[in-house]
Point group: C2
Chain length 193, copies 2
């Protein structure tokens, strides 16, 4: 039972090996190439995506057509348009592959059924939604209270793997600044380090 996903479940809940076998039966494994979209704006998000390998981003598109990264994900992360997934109505996030990926798809109806047989799975996803909410609130807070440089340092500290692997443009977009600004910030940090 050496599985990234099994360990992921057991970080925030308790899933037995038997239960995990049940979950595995509904999972769909998909290999997706760079630049491909797992989800388009306006789609209903029918799966939660668990990243086994690679890197992805979710983003929104504003009226001027500019993209804004909402989430970055690498191995051991979940990604989805949560609000669309929960309500099963069209959402406004798109999900694109940054680095060739291996993802596990957990379909919405299957998950609903599993909740009945595996109560701790409900706990797990309730906590996951919970963390997503708290994280969103923290991002809004820091976008209002600290500078772009501080936000970048914070991200580096909390997700060092992300900041070293994901192209600067996406990190800049996640932080709500331009690529040029982030480039200057990096320069500034190195100059004083």
């Amino acid at each position: 039972m050496a599985s990234l996903l099994f360990d992921n479940f057991n970080k925030y809940s308790f899933i037995t090996a038997d239960e995990f076998v049940q979950i595995e039966q509904v999972l769909i494994k998909r290999f997706v190439k760079k630049k491909k979209n797992l989800l388009h704006e306006g789609d209903i998000c029918r799966y939660l995506y668990f990243v086994e390998k690679g890197a992805l981003r979710s983003y929104t598109i504003d009226k001027q057509g500019n993209e804004h990264v909402m989430q970055l994900a690498i191995e051991d992360y979940w990604i989805a348009d949560l609000s669309s997934f929960i309500t099963q109505t069209p959402g406004n996030l798109a999900i694109e592959v940054i680095e060739d990926c291996e993802v596990l798809l957990l379909p919405h109806p299957a998950l609903e059924q599993l909740y009945d047989t595996i109560p701790s799975l409900g706990t797990f996803f309730r906590k996951l939604y919970q963390r997503a909410y708290v994280h969103l609130q923290a991002r809004l807070h820091s976008s209002q209270s600290i500078s772009a440089e501080e936000r970048y340092l914070e991200l580096m500290k909390q997700h060092p793997k992300i900041s070293s692997r994901i192209p600067l443009i996406y990190i800049a977009s996640y932080l709500g600044i331009t690529a040029e600004s982030l480039s200057r910030i990096r320069k500034h940090i190195h100059s004083k380090a």
Copy 2:
């Protein structure tokens, strides 16, 4: 059955008069004066607050001691530190009364029990959490993609009662700008209108 709360429930779910009587039995009515806090930073949020009269704000405090308004609420709004309420662990929001209030307190343990007897209440609050999440995401998106003036106009359009009743400082803080900037924005809007 002329009740603001009853109507509020029936906007997003379906609650019968009988069910509402059950809910009413666990509600605690409280009259709170301006400047008083319903919740302090670090408290566990033990209630969902429904506003029957008055105005409130929830806010976070950053390292420099500056307050940032997270939510504004007037009659017919729910307010709480949702993440603290759901997990029943200490949160980082404070809730303060802006205008003398009449609020209804819905205690966490009582709500958990009511979920068993009134399934549509679960639906109602699931949708409420859902809207809170989507709203938070929209705020982050617009704080990154549109100007403070546009955000203000948007707020005025969607919540005209809030923008006319709540003091400018709190609206500015909600929008993530200073009071001076919002004052200038208002001047600018009036000058061209």
